[in-house]
Amino acid sequence: MPNNSMILSSRRAFLGKTGKTLSATALAMVVGGNIRSATATTTDASQDIKILNAAIALEHEGIAAYQIAATSGLLDPAVVDIGVTFQGHHKGHRDVLVKAVEMLGGTPAEEKSLGAYAQELKASTLKNQADVLRLALALETGAANAYLGLIPSLGPDYHQVAAQMAGDEAFHAAILANALGQPIPKAALMFG
């Protein structure tokens, strides 16, 4: 199902342009003032770059997963719309992370081909909408936990933005679990 908002081909050009023009101040505004400046106060910038790049790789995969899902022909149009919205959130995460890595002097992790993601995620095994939703739920749950688990390893400048992203992933997971008819968990502290 074609959808202009999901076409990824122009993403790199867009990022390249914005990456050159966005100031540290603007970036701080984007992430709520949590990433302070190019000379961040983190104790180990090279370690932060490594971890943030792993997070970028995670977001690349999430964006690709929703792309694969949206074009699979397995989803109802209303579900596609929700998936497109979630994909937009992941693009927002990626953009913030890319800028953070660049500000630290690193090179952001590049995305793989859509075919590579499809193979890694075993997309060929998806046969219906429920299969797609289950995969999305697994990825979102894993992503929420991944962000929460990496916070202690990141420099303090990135704690809040990682927590914000974990919150978004948890939100996605809740919607997807509801769509699958899963019961609300009884116990508190569902993630992390």
């Binding site: 090279s46 370690q47 490594k50 971890i51 790049n53 792993a54 790789a57 995670l58 995969e61 193979q119 890694e120 995620l121 075993k122 697994a138 990825l139 749950t141 894993g142 992503a143 929420a144 936990n145 991944a146 688990g149 990496l150 202690p152 390893s153 990141l154």
Partner: protein, 158 residues
Amino acid sequence: MKTPLYVIVLFCAVLISGSALAKDAINSIGMDKTQVTSQGDSVPPYVVSEKLVGVGEKLYKRRCGGCHSLDNNRIGPRHRDVYGRKAGVVANFKYSKALKNLDVIWTDETLNDWLVNPTAFAKGTSMGFRLGKTNERNAIIEYLKSLSSAPGFSAGVK
């Protein structure tokens, strides 16, 4: 000098009782213990707790599934057969220098230390995820162990 007969008898008795004690010790680990069959005669099979493996499987999906799969490299390398394997050797996965240069075999102890604080274990790694709860680490390591029947397996390893 001849060894007195009573010394020989006593020695044999100690051996027999020692063997019985060892068997009891294994049994006392729990009814849910089972052996994972090795795929190679020269490879000792791992003993795992089925109950813990079940818990570990669920936890693995939630805690590790964001970045890892058993059979495909994703954000992180695939995990099947990770237990008993040298760090940083899965084919077609682009490791950080930290992992490439890490001279470690993944065991209960090394996996535990890694999951407690990966950046302290291998400074410069891309994995920042820490698993703080001991019981969760134990269960996930047990699960990974159950999937690793052949330490040092060769297929797909550099």
